[in-house]
Symmetry: C2
Subunit: 190 residues, 2 copies
């Protein structure tokens, strides 16, 4: 039996990742995840609201980390540059967890229910980023646009890094933001 | 009884929009939608795969219209500018259907199941746009980034237009793309 709540939580996540990978998301039950983790199903539901949530714990941690960097960035740094700084600050934790991130990515890609949950989490993180930019003085509409565009660029960098580990995540991220600047420099304000 | 398949389809969409608006998405059945449209439930499922799909017919039409404009835009027009042209070409149809779009927007905003389907449709449309840009000679990675960013900007323009009808959709769209250019001009390539 795991000793602490934190340990149980971690074992449940590991067990879910294994079982979803072995049998698929649809064919796995929360009872089976709990059994493999050596805890009761009741413990499962004390930690996670449903069968999908067990894979999305990192999203809240990432959101909090991004917010903290945003809050500590000087207010004269423009919105997208502020987001890029925050993403770069989150890179080391992702680099350290690459094997977990890869396994999670494979499991999510194989299930439309998990992809839908991931999109919903992305929506939530984007609204967190938009609110943080607004709190720094960016207008509401531009803050939302910056959060959308910044998040899309970040997500593409992470996907690129998972496909191609020959570049670091920081290098992927810098390249995507450079391409973003190149793309939009051709859209001239009228 | 509606005379043609097209008419039945249109009546089913109208009936679904009404019932989802009156009772909510969860409390409405496909049998009730069919009854209000004056057709059998079997006819419902001949037209739509499930309870959600009835609200997303316009997505395929929009995708086809955007693709057609993309295909007819000279290849020396840069990717985001190409997308902006395609979106502007789609504006008149949306302006003409504003009451329908508003009702649909209200219904979707009230249901997380419908929001998830809408996100999934957005993913599909983005991959259509990315493929069309790639076919015009844009590199795969940059085409995907342009589609993500262009779609986010378009979606924000449509949301802004639904909130604030004092500006035309074309004006909202132009303003969002101008803001996008302003945002990224501050992200300097290193």
């Amino acid at each position: 039996m795991p000793r602490s709540g934190e340990e149980a939580r971690h074992r449940l996540q590991q067990a879910a990742l294994e079982l979803y990978g072995e049998r698929g998301f649809d064919a796995t039950t929360t009872a089976e995840i709990a059994a493999r983790a050596g805890v009761t199903e009741r413990t499962y539901f004390r930690h996670f609201a449903d069968k999908r949530e067990v894979l999305f714990d990192g999203e809240a941690t990432l959101g909090a980390a991004l917010e903290a960097t945003l809050d500590s960035t000087p207010e004269d740094v423009p919105p997208l540059q502020t987001l890029l700084r925050a993403f770069l600050a989150a890179v080391p934790r992702l680099e350290a967890n690459r094997p977990l991130t890869e396994a999670r990515h494979r499991v999510i890609s194989a299930s439309s229910a998990l992809q839908e949950r991931q999109l919903a989490k992305g929506e939530y993180l984007k609204s967190t980023l938009a609110a943080a930019l607004e709190a720094r003085g960016t207008g509401e509409r531009v803050a939302r646009l910056a959060a959308e565009v910044g998040w899309a660029t970040w997500a593409q960098a992470v996907a690129g890094w998972l496909d191609d580990p020959s570049l670091t995540l920081a290098a992927h991220l810098t390249r995507e933001f450079d391409d973003l600047a190149g793309l939009t420099s051709a859209v001239k304000p009228r």
